[in-house]
């Protein structure tokens, strides 16, 4: 909220606006009196009825301003917001600034379209339990700390979990392999620095979750991006800031609290009432999801973050469910779709789905004759369902069945001590 004091308005106009409670730039822009709604000269505004919710006397006082004065205020408020908050440039400017976050593996990166996942947006990783979602995230925690020349973001990481503890022991094994792998390219990679660059917090319930998203996370990120300046106003070089700016936020998982706390109030449990009450809690959930999504996207854009949300999957109970992936043999007992429905689908920028066939079952889940899984490991598949940066996502609207074996948007992967790596298919 910004007071209208920042605008260069004649005192009388400013006074009137404050009297009718339009005392912030935001209020002014959201109010939209009828006179402003018209683009032409507003001599006709008197014919409009006051908007509902505005008391008549306030409205009259506002109308004490001439149409030009109202337009002036409105235009100035618009200009202020435009100049202070909206980044305006050309696509070329953006192209030169755009960063990508590698997965640290060529095959996986290629499947994702070349450079890994996007920054400035939300990427969702969905899949059943034990498919490797957390492994992917751990790997991103490490690669995000690589310098930009190596495909990283040269930043630190925030890990928000709704599902218990941070997988420390798993991270330990991965860090060791990671440092060994990049030792030659990035000599100053240090295990302790890596550990210290991952912030962890758990969100045990929805209330904590909202609080973290609304207050703690924005402040933490903002602080981490402040450049330390010494007394002369120069960026200090000797006094290296302890931590790099936050460049990656991982939420594991977004669905958990929403699913476990979706309650129907007992009062409305009978007959029709129960249905209504369920509906209203679904509505409530939708609006919270949208709000979290909008908040995360704004943070992501303002600070150039990559945001990764892990999502659970839910069974599909339909006679003839639409296949998640094209020409996948449909197994009526094994149909899944990411949780949280259309609302969340519209909120994320990209969706990656991980799958595996169950160990011991000879069921051929996959259409693209895969390399035989070695030593009885389950076969794991990564698919890009949609992503704004690739031309052919597997599950997208275009070219349903045409996804070739080598196509962008699809690959097999394995998980070992070092982390996740892609398998080149023959």
């Amino acid at each position: 909220m910004t007071s209208i004091n920042v605008l260069d308005l004649p005192p009388s106009v400013q006074e009137t606006l404050i009297k009718v409670n339009l005392d912030t730039v935001e209020d002014l822009l959201l109010y939209t009196p009828p006179a402003i709604a018209d683009d032409g000269p507003s001599s006709r505004y008197k014919r409009h009825q006051p908007a509902k919710g505005t008391s008549i006397s306030n409205y009259d006082r506002l109308m004490g301003l001439t149409a030009d004065e109202i337009t002036l205020a409105y235009d100035q408020a618009s200009a202020y917001v435009f100049e202070t908050r909206i980044a305006y440039g050309t696509a070329l400017d953006l192209y030169q600034e755009e960063d990508w976050l590698t997965l640290g593996d060529d095959v996986l990166d290629r499947a994702l379209g070349g450079s890994g996942i996007m920054t400035r947006g939300i990427t969702e990783i969905a899949g059943e339990s034990a498919v490797g979602k957390t492994q992917f995230c751990l790997q991103l925690c490490l690669t995000a700390q690589l310098p930009k020349e190596c495909g990283g973001l040269d930043g630190s990481v925030v890990w928000l979990s709704t599902e218990g503890k941070f997988p420390y022991s798993r991270l330990e094994t991965m860090i060791h392999h990671f440092v060994t792998k990049y030792k030659d390219v990035v000599p100053d990679l240090d295990e302790d620095t890596i550990r210290n660059s991952i912030y962890f917090d758990s969100m045990a319930d929805q209330e904590t979750q909202l609080h973290i998203f609304n207050y703690q996370l924005p402040v933490l990120i903002q602080d981490s991006h402040i450049v330390v300046e010494d007394e002369d106003g120069n960026e200090s070089e000797h006094q290296e800031p302890l931590r790099k700016p936050i460049k990656l936020v991982i939420i594991d998982s977004i669905a958990n609290n929403f699913r476990s706390e979706l309650t129907v109030s007992p009062a409305g449990a009978e007959s029709n009432g129960g249905h209504d009450s369920f509906r209203s809690s679904i509505l409530q959930r939708s609006s919270e999801l949208c709000e979290i999504g909008q908040r995360l996207r704004t943070l992501a854009d303002q600070h150039g973050l990559a945001v990764v949300c892990v999502n659970q999957v839910t069974d599909v109970f339909e006679a003839d469910p639409p296949a998640l992936l094209p020409n996948m043999k449909s197994d009526p007992l094994n149909q899944k779709k990411p949780a949280l429905g259309l609302v969340w689908e519209n909120t994320v920028n990209a969706r990656i789905v991980l799958q595996r066939n169950r160990l011991g079952e000879g069921y051929d889940v996959d259409p693209y004759a895969a390399p035989a899984p070695s030593n009885g490991e389950p076969q794991r598949t990564l698919s890009v369902v949609f992503a704004p940066w690739t031309s052919n996502s597997v599950g997208g609207g275009r070219g349903g069945g045409s996804g070739g074996r080598e196509s962008v948007g699809h690959c097999y992967y394995r998980i070992d001590d070092a982390g996740v790596s892609g398998i080149v298919s023959e």
Partner: protein, 255 residues
């Protein structure tokens, strides 16, 4: 033009003082008024700023009022191709997204709405012979799905396609990228401000022929407990966009 402009100047809806000035001036018809550069007219009639605004509004309004003129304007305007003859044929003249109007594309995630928006931004810059309008575009992004690298890819393909089909060396990829004004808005308030500023931006850059908003709905999905206020805002945005599209002959597509 002759049909409209023979309209007597007295019939313009003007306020008292202004009407008197116009009648006394001796200009009999709208055509007479339009024949003089407006600045000269304003000085000659000694109009105040307010009066000259009112007069120009009415004069412009009178121009777009007849069906004939509207038709003529539409028939000579240049649609923007969607790079697909099947898609283009869905539009009135079979040539793509029409200027002067708002076109909405809707569909689920991953169906290609953003991609289509980017493609239109590139196509706007193509020569008229290839379905473009040799203009530039504004892309208002509310979701963050505008990936510059993808834009460069599409631009590269378009340039290659142009070379193949017409043996023409098209504009450089960098120039195509420069021809897309991009802005990211994060909230409904920012969107309202942006659309308000749009008129000025379009006036300052007369080459702008296309405005893409991707997407109109995403910012209105949360934080609005007052649905009436939301409806009013959205309606108002729509109205401003329509008027910008009409006045400047710009195609607006919102996803």
């Amino acid at each position: 033009m002759s049909t409209v402009s023979s309209r007597p100047a007295v019939t313009l809806r003007l306020s008292g003082g202004l009407r008197e000035k116009v009648i006394r001036s001796g200009y009999g018809t709208v055509a007479d008024l339009l024949a003089v550069p407006f600045e000269e007219l304003a000085t000659e009639l000694k109009l105040t700023q307010e009066q000259s605004n009112e007069l120009i509004w009415q004069l412009q309004g009178s121009l777009s009022r007849t069906a004939y003129l509207t038709w003529e304007r539409e028939a000579t305007s240049v649609p923007i191709t969607a790079s697909s003859s099947a898609l283009d044929s869905l539009f009135p003249r079979g040539k793509g997204v029409p200027p002067g109007k708002i076109t909405e594309f809707c569909g689920r995630s991953g169906t290609g709405k953003t991609q289509l928006g980017i493609q239109l931004c590139i196509n706007t810059q193509l020569p008229v012979a290839m379905g473009g309008s040799e203009g530039t575009s504004v892309f208002i992004d509310t979701e963050g799905s505008f990936i510059a690298r993808r834009v460069a890819q599409i631009a590269q393909n378009s340039v290659e396609q142009m070379y193949q089909d017409m043996a023409v060396q098209g504009p450089a990829v960098d120039d195509l990228m420069r021809g897309i004004h991009y802005c990211r808005v994060h909230s409904a308030i920012e969107l309202v401000a942006m659309v308000r500023m749009l008129r000025g931006i379009v006036q300052a850059h007369p080459k702008i022929k296309l405005v893409v908003i991707d997407t109109i709905s995403s910012l209105f999905r949360s934080n609005f407990s007052d649905t009436q206020a939301r409806t009013r805002l959205v309606a108002n945005l729509g109205r401003q966009l329509v008027s910008i599209a009409r006045d400047f002959d710009i195609a607006v597509s919102r996803n």
